[in-house]
């Protein structure tokens, strides 16, 4: 018996779903085992996790709120992954975006909302975009690996944020807590519920940024010349340069835009969820975004769906934390395990494996003689 591995000619169809569900089940099994190892009831834990994530309408709303920054960061990350530029700096770009927005909110408190809000968005996207451009320029000019430089800029970006919040921007009235003063109402993104007359929990108008960004992403990729060229660059730098595609420009573009989207997410989180800047704004959305982008195979609709799924997982883990006193890191483990299992599972999407009975050598030889 030998295993025969062949590249698939056609796509798996419904098999794709089976592969993904299988990978998910395997990851959940690993997590259940870890729960048991930590001395917690494993199955009950998973039940609590799912009830917490999907059980009530307010948990779904909470997941939707968390999905907003994840979705925006994931779109940005996916853009660069499409051309094999490994931007893993969404976390730092997010931090810089929050810093940029806060700078505007604290500097111009007198502006009306119609001027202040767009200015905050702009500052956030510029700051995040600039942070994303650093690795891009280093890569193009000197060939510095963008993987490590963008990751290092995550640490540095978070420390920039902390430096400001612990120092110059600290609210004198915060009793020593590291946080800025609350933004003026014009600088805070409002909740959707009161305006619409519905009870929508903490859901806020920042949600609107998601369809806008999502539509822009798919139009850019499928309807513009640059989008096609971007897809062509997915074969790698040498091919792109050989085909005389504007490789350098595209690298700058995807890193700038990706940084801008992550920056926008940072602005929305600080303005809508916290109403001020404080270190807790950094919740690891930038890293979750990488998981999301890859799970969704860089496609916009799956990114939206997966963002919501992983956001719901975060909500579920919060409930688990409260009910079973499980460390918050459990969420990270789940994300890592799911990603690992899905990467392994994706093998079955492009290759087919069949078991073949190996013929005895003698028989094969005699057959050869006859032929």
């Amino acid at each position: 018996m030998i295993l025969k591995i062949r590249k698939r000619e056609e796509s798996l169809g419904w098999g794709v779903l089976v592969v993904y569900l299988g990978a998910l089940a395997l990851a959940l099994a690993v997590c259940a085992i870890l729960l048991a190892l930590a001395g917690k009831p494993a199955l009950e834990g998973l039940v609590i996790l799912f009830r917490g994530a999907f059980g009530q309408s307010y948990s779904l709303l909470d997941a939707l709120v968390k999905a907003i920054p994840i979705f925006l960061c994931a779109l940005g990350v996916a853009l660069s992954f499409r051309m094999q530029i490994w931007n893993i700096g969404a976390e730092g770009q997010f931090a810089l975006g929050a810093v940029g927005a806060t700078f505007v909110a604290l500097s111009f408190p007198g502006l009306p909302a119609l001027a202040l809000m767009p200015l905050m968005f702009l500052a956030a996207m510029l700051a995040g975009g600039a942070w994303g451009l650093i690795p891009a320029v280093l890569r193009l000019r000197l060939g510095v690996s963008e993987i490590i430089s963008s990751l290092m800029l995550n640490y540095i970006g978070i420390l920039v944020l902390e430096y400001l919040v612990f120092g110059a921007w600290k609210d004198p009235a915060s009793f020593g807590f590291p946080m800025t003063a609350e933004f003026v109402p014009a600088g805070q993104i409002a909740h959707m519920g009161p305006t619409l007359g519905l009870s929508l929990g903490k859901l806020h108008w920042g949600l609107l940024a998601c369809p806008l960004a999502g539509v822009a992403y798919s139009v850019f990729l499928s309807r513009t010349r640059l989008g096609f060229e971007l897809a062509a660059c997915g074969e790698g730098e040498r091919v792109a340069r050989y085909a005389q595609l504007p490789y350098g420009f595209l690298v700058l573009l995807v890193m700038g835009l990706g940084g801008g989207l992550a920056g926008l997410a940072g602005c929305i989180e600080s303005s809508a969820t916290l109403g001020r800047l404080q270190p807790t704004v950094m919740a690891g959305y930038g890293y979750t975004a990488i998981v999301v982008a890859w799970l969704a195979r860089l496609k916009p609709w799956p990114i939206a769906f997966t963002s919501f799924l992983l956001a719901a997982l975060r909500v579920g883990v919060e409930v688990l934390q409260l009910e079973l006193q499980i460390p918050a890191a459990f969420g990270q483990i789940m994300e890592g395990a799911i990603l690992l299992c899905v990467i392994a599972g994706q093998f079955f999407l492009s290759y087919s494996v069949t078991l073949k009975r190996s013929r005895p050598v003698a028989a094969a030889a005699s057959k050869g003689e006859r032929a």
Binding site: G143, I156, A329, L339, A344, Q346
Partner: protein
């Protein structure tokens, strides 16, 4: 600065360099065989916990050391499995490994935060520790530091003076040619990744057994990523890795000393130093490679490229 202070700083630099050097050499082994492993950060985090918990339960630091190494090898084995058997993207698999490893270390370690271990204590090497300057800096350290002195030589010897090392390098440069020469590239890669993982695991073990004698979360603190950067800085040569690791050990020692003495510089700026230095070091090595035009020849040619199945 008084001579005592300089000696104390240099000794601290050596201690800071030790975990980074272990991890850099580990990543180098893996990359020499052609597998990019971005999971070092997670591997160090998890093996730090494995070493701590075994040392805590058995009371033996040596067992803890081996536990750290084996935990590292095991986690990297997962990377080898995903990339070699399931042909997963090495970049993404490594990132997933980091997320998983750091998370698992935090998760398992949370109940033990603040618990101390005996670990490795410093002892003076007879005779050598009386050398002027060098003695107190190099030979009044703990056993793991003495171990790290041997590591670059061992890795260099393995890569350049054994047939196994030749096979590893061939697999990293051109797996098809290695296969044609009768070697088994898959097996060699798995060996490179897991042996490298063992070394990264020793780096993690150093953090919980010798660096701090107290368990806390987030022990790895970006050192794994520094190691990935240092492999590039070292042009994939063990000897140069020593220089890189000492540079980082020095900066970390300097920063810790400044914080302990209490300065006007805010701690967030001081904490930025190693990360900023990583970027600077990368820029420096890239510029040097460009100037000498050796950039392309230094990295193994098949680094990051999976071996496709036949048929």
């Amino acid at each position: 600065m008084s001579p005592e202070l300089i000696i104390a700083l240099l000794a601290a630099a050596v201690q800071g360099a030790a975990p980074i050097l272990f991890a850099t050499l580990g990543e180098m082994l893996s990359e020499k065989a052609g597998v990019l492993n971005l999971g070092v950060e997670g591997v160090m985090a998890l093996s730090a916990f494995a070493a701590f918990i075994v040392c805590h339960l058995t009371g033996s630091a040596v067992l803890g050391l081996f536990a750290g190494g084996f935990a590292g090898a095991l986690l990297c084995g997962l990377h080898a499995l995903v990339c070699q058997v399931f042909l997963g993207n090495q970049v993404v698999s490594g990132l997933a490994l980091t997320i998983f490893g750091v998370g698992l270390s935090d998760f398992l370690g949370t109940p033990y935060v603040g618990v101390g271990t005996e670990g490795f204590r410093q002892f003076a090497v007879p005779l050598l520790s009386h050398l002027p300057m060098l003695g107190p800096v190099l030979f009044r350290q703990d056993a793991m530091v003495y171990l790290v002195y041997c590591a670059p030589v061992a890795v260099w010897f393995l890569l350049n003076r054994t047939s196994l090392g030749l096979g590893l390098r061939a697999t990293g440069e051109m797996p098809a040619a290695a296969a044609a020469a009768g070697l088994n590239p898959q097996r060699l890669r798995a060996f490179g990744v897991m042996a490298g993982g063992f070394l990264c695991g020793l780096g993690g073990a150093y953090l919980s057994l010798a660096h701090t004698h107290l368990w806390s979360t987030g022990l790895s603190g970006g050192r794994g990523w520094v190691a990935v950067a240092l492999v590039i800085f070292a042009f994939w040569r063990p000897g140069r890795a020593v220089i890189g690791a000492l540079l980082f050990g020095g900066v970390m020692a300097f920063q810790l000393r400044l914080q302990a003495e209490g300065t006007n510089v805010p701690s967030s700026l001081l904490l930025m130093l190693p990360y900023a230095l990583t970027v600077i070091v990368l820029v420096f090595s890239a510029a040097r490679a460009k100037y000498l035009k050796t950039g392309h020849s230094a990295a193994p040619a098949a680094l990051g490229v999976n071996i496709e199945p036949e048929g």
